[in-house]
Symmetry: C2
Subunit: 289 residues, 2 copies
């Protein structure tokens, strides 16, 4: 099934409309933030959030501020991960990375700014009962914090070469899985849903995070640079352990199939409005970038 | 009058008790975060928040999560400002800066982590009606974002040498003033106070931010390195325009006296429980570090 480009279009339109700087002096900062934010990409996290709203019987557009916040946080993490002191990557989505285009100081601040503005979106613009918005915002920052994305990136830069298989899985749960999970969890919290469908959706989110990372590792080895938009084989050059380096390419592909089946099975327990989530799941298994 | 060390002690005790990492793998990240967070300092922002609660007739301890969040955000900004790509400072509060002690990659992540964990404190632990906590959290991230701290730091690294006097004032309003202001504004929002005292307190906060920055610029020129804990004259070496470089030392001192008078006058309109705020104001004028 095809990726839900209709939801992606709504996300892209919303992101394009965002402005961050209220005065001329900081227009250059906003430019660097928008440069990275609007560089393309499938918008998997926000599309996942909108599709989760749909699965819960809500109008997806109600969740746009929260959905956009997920993409701002993802973009901030990419900008900081690409810095010379981290992965030192010069290319991202076929474009010079933020620090190459705007300088390292501006790139650090563009990342910092995107994180702050992501939270402003949720806290100022997300509709819903205040207690629910508060819980969703708390989940979002937890997913971005030490027990989430930042902690996972710390493991990646300090320990990735020495991890065993469970350690590797944990690294990716934190670095990637928590924010993918938040894309499902935060809409559940904002809507206040508590039924059995939410249990199935949470199980789905956990499997999807694993699937996403395995495919990412496979693409780093098999992908074409022109399609990936970044140098192929960068994990290996950085001495990182990946699903491919630990299990081999064939077994990694089997593991991806298993996670895909697990995610689809979980969805089947989450009701009849999960077709869009199923399309995202299929896309993640078969994606080439 | 003496600085309110009693409130400072409560802040220090609360900060020391904070833990950020739930697992062994990220203990090194927590260590770097705590290294910078617990390096000392007067805790002006959180003490200001607690004293504002007191001025509003509340128990200061109720505001500790929010107060601590202000210090975490301040610490995160110092860590990122000190990075080689920014101010490239090797010494802070008499200790090696975070990137010197832990490496640049870990320092970037320690800053990122402190920002996320600051917001978790407010969203998960700050008591109060959810709608009020939400508004206070929104004010906090706005003060930290593009129209606040991050925007001010952007002006500082890109334009500080070319600014005229109003531009310089705007830089510091964003970089320092907004977070100092938030230390007064957020407690007002959490408590839900709307009386005339809040108008006076907001005027006080604006003057205090200016006072703080003028004194900072004076100390950069006149301070002793052993007391400052960082190299003296660093603004001049970085080619930064300051209140001293624009107005001269004598006029800068007069401006500090004027702001101090303005802040004390504003307080006199905010009721009879503002003694602690007055002590903080006096301390900021006469501080040596």
């Amino acid at each position: 099934m095809a990726y839900p480009t209709e939801l992606q279009g709504r996300v892209d339109a919303y992101l394009s409309g965002l402005r961050f700087s209220a005065e001329p002096g900081t227009a250059g900062l906003e430019e660097a933030m928008r440069y990275s934010l609007l560089a393309g990409g499938k918008r998997i996290r926000p599309v996942l959030a909108l599709a989760t709203a749909e699965a819960l019987g809500r109008e997806p557009s109600e969740l746009l501020p929260l959905a956009a916040a997920l993409e701002l946080i993802h973009t901030y993490s990419l900008i900081h991960d690409d810095l010379p002191a981290m992965d030192d990557d010069a290319l991202r989505r076929g474009q010079p990375t933020c620090h190459v285009a705007y300088g390292e100081d501006v790139a650090i601040l563009a990342g910092d700014g995107l994180f702050a503005e992501a939270l402003r979106l949720v806290l100022e613009r997300q509709t819903g009962a205040p207690a629910r918005v508060l819980r969703a915002a708390a989940e979002l920052v937890a997913a971005a914090g030490v027990d989430g994305m930042v902690g996972g990136q710390f493991l990646d830069v300090t320990a990735a070469g020495d991890l065993d298989a469970p350690g590797l899985r944990r690294l990716h749960e934190l670095k990637t899985g928590r924010l993918i999970g938040a894309a499902v969890e935060c809409p559940i919290l904002v809507t206040g849903e508590t039924g059995p469908a939410t249990i199935a959706l949470r199980r789905f989110a956990a499997e999807l995070g694993v699937l996403f990372q395995i495919v990412d590792d496979i693409l780093d080895v098999t992908g074409e640079e022109s399609t990936l938009g970044k140098p192929q084989g960068s994990d290996e050059r950085h001495g990182k352990r990946t699903y491919v380096s630990v299990f081999g390419l064939d077994r990694a592909r089997e593991l991806a199939e298993e996670s895909h089946r697990g995610a689809r099975e979980a969805l089947s327990g989450a009701g009849e409005t999960t077709q869009t989530l199923a399309r995202i799941t299929d896309y993640i298994l078969t994606r080439q970038t």
